[in-house]
Each structure stands twice: as structure tokens, then as C-alpha cells.
Symmetry: C2
């Protein structure tokens, strides 16, 4: 068991590839898709712009490779029903602040079709299944998950992208205390 994963070519340029992805994430998160130039990414990574093209094919390919989001949402099954809101909000805040991938995805998704579609994919593949575990009426699952997404994305937008001072000033505990009941109601309340 030398390799943990079956695909491990272990090329000599892995360090460069990783540096490119790191720089790309940072640029996309700070500038959005259009203003994040390949030249700037290459400069941050300390290499030539043509290397980015060789390793990732195009700017769109670079974006696709750089913004691979895994929300690592917890299993809500063993949790008491009245704690799912608090658990989800806490988890979202932690994931959002531990790296800048989500900020990059949100910034790009707001003015780029491919970015918006990728964000839809994250919603469908990662948030919907979790909502499925706790929603009462199966038919309402997409709507309830979407409502949850509006609250979480809205907080992320105001706090990490637009940087509204009052939203930035809130502590994590305060945010959880305010948003948890909202998410809790969106997911589990019997009535609209």
C-alpha cells in the first residue's frame, strides 16, 4: 500500500501544478473570473503563463481544476432533529473560512455562466442529499434546500464578498444564534 489512491502518476511538476492551483484560487476569489488573468496567476506561482496553458488547457480548464468544492457536509441522521440548523450553520461557517475556494466560486458564479452552473452542481450533489435526511415532505425537499441555500449564500455574500461592515463584525457564535433557527425552520418546519 504505497499509494492511497489508485491514480498517482507522481510527476516531477506536481509542486508547480499545486502552486498554480493555489494562486488561481486566490486570484479567482479576489478578482472574479475576468479580472483574474492567467498572466497574474502565473506571476503569483512564479512561472511562465504558457505553463498554465500546458497543464490546464485553457482558462476555463484552470477554473474547473482550481474550484473543486467538497462541502464535507456531516451526516444529519444520528443528530436530534432540533439541532440540524445549528449544526449546518456552524459547519458552513467553518468550511467557508478555512479556504477561499467557496469565495472564489461565489464571486465567479455571480458573473459567469460556467461558475453559476458549477455552483448549482454543488447545491444538487451535496446540499440536496442532506436536506433529504431531515425534510418531512419529500416533494418539498428542493424548495427547502434552496431556501437554506439562500440564507447561507446571502450571509457569505454580505460577509466575505461585499464585506458589509455589520456582517463582518458579527462573531461566528452570533451568526449561528441568528441563522440556526432560520435554517432549522426552512428544513424541518411542517408548514410554510
Amino acid at each position: 500500500m504505497v499509494d492511497s489512491k489508485p491514480t498517482a502518476p507522481s510527476r516531477r511538476s506536481d509542486a508547480t501544478r499545486a502552486a498554480i492551483l493555489d494562486a488561481a484560487r486566490e486570484r479567482f476569489a479576489a478578482d472574479g473570473y475576468e479580472r483574474a488573468t492567467i498572466r497574474a496567476v502565473a506571476r503569483d506561482a512564479g512561472i511562465d503563463p504558457s505553463m498554465v496553458m500546458r497543464y490546464y488547457g485553457s482558462k476555463e480548464g484552470l477554473f474547473a481544476a482550481a474550484v473543486a468544492v467538497d462541502l464535507k457536509l456531516p451526516d444529519l441522521g444520528p443528530l436530534p432533529r432540533e439541532e440540524v440548523g445549528s449544526a449546518l450553520v456552524t459547519h458552513f461557517l467553518a468550511v467557508w473560512e478555512e479556504n477561499e475556494v467557496l469565495t472564489a466560486l461565489l464571486r465567479v458564479g455571480a458573473s459567469n455562466q460556467a461558475g453559476a452552473e458549477r455552483m448549482q452542481g454543488v447545491f444538487q450533489d451535496q446540499l440536496l442529499p442532506v436536506a433529504q435526511q431531515v425534510c418531512p415532505d419529500p416533494e418539498q425537499i428542493p424548495a427547502r434546500a434552496a431556501l437554506t441555500a439562500t440564507q447561507m449564500l446571502g450571509m457569505a455574500l454580505a460577509r466575505y464578498v461585499l464585506r458589509f461592515p455589520p456582517a463582518v463584525a458579527l462573531s461566528r457564535q452570533e451568526i449561528v444564534a441568528w441563522l440556526a433557527p432560520t435554517v432549522q425552520r426552512y428544513l424541518t418546519a411542517p408548514n410554510p
Copy 2:
């Protein structure tokens, strides 16, 4: 009383100026700041790109002139306290769907510093005073207004920008029914 406002130069080019602003709003709303080119705006307005420069100085000046937002928020004074949430959400939905200025501002604000600052201005000048009318503790007004903004902006983001299918499928009544209690609580609930 020929002129309703004191400043009414009534230039011969007013029609062109208005056409430029209309086209600019549409382009900014559809494409964001960078991809909305002056050339495309001029083409939509049926004139030469250099006219845009002469009338609005620069692309940034065009954006500043095109995205002048007036939320026309209602006076919440005479309203029963338990109806402010529903009234605000209903009003927000109406304003957001009646023209594309807010979508343009949101799209641009997500990846442009000037856009984000302008959105902060709208928040401070228009939402904060309204929150002042209904918040219990004066010290909590900015935080409560910001929480309201996160929910409204999050819904706008998911519905009008990212176009999450479940968020688009919701009717206005359903949105009001779901969001009104949230906004109501953010603004008027005594306790976090």
C-alpha cells in the same frame, strides 16, 4: 410650472443619453462589469462608442450613472409590528422584478470593488433608516439590518443571478410566506 425639477437643461441629446443608460443597465445585469463592454452598450443604443465616453467620461462613470438605485422602501411607522416582515419581503420582490438595476448592481458588486461599495451605500442610506423604525435596541440596528440584507440578497442571488431552479420555481407568495417570518425575527425579535 413648466419644469418639475429646478435642474432641467433639456438637452437635445437626452434621448440618446437615456438609451445609453438603458442599454448599460441591461448589459451590466446580464454580463457583469468586465464583460459588459462599452462597445456592446453603444451597439445596443445604436450609436458610436465614443459617445458613451463623451457623455459619461469613462466606463466607471457610465456604471455610476446607470446603477442609481432607489429601493422606495415604505414607511414602516404606521404598520402593525407583526407585519413588517411580510411588507418588506413583498416590497423587495416587487422592486427586484420591476427593473434590472438591482440585478446589475448585485452582479457587479460581486466582482468589482466600486460595485460593492455602492451596494454598501444603498444598504446604509436606505435599509438602515427603515430598520431604525422597528428595531428594539438601537445598538443592534446595524446587525439586524445586515441580517435582513443577507436573507434578501441571498434570495435575489439564488433566484435572479445563479438561477437555482427550485428558487426560480417558487411563487412570490411562497417566498413571502417563507421569508417574512425570518425578516420579522431578524428585525423585531427581542432575543438573538
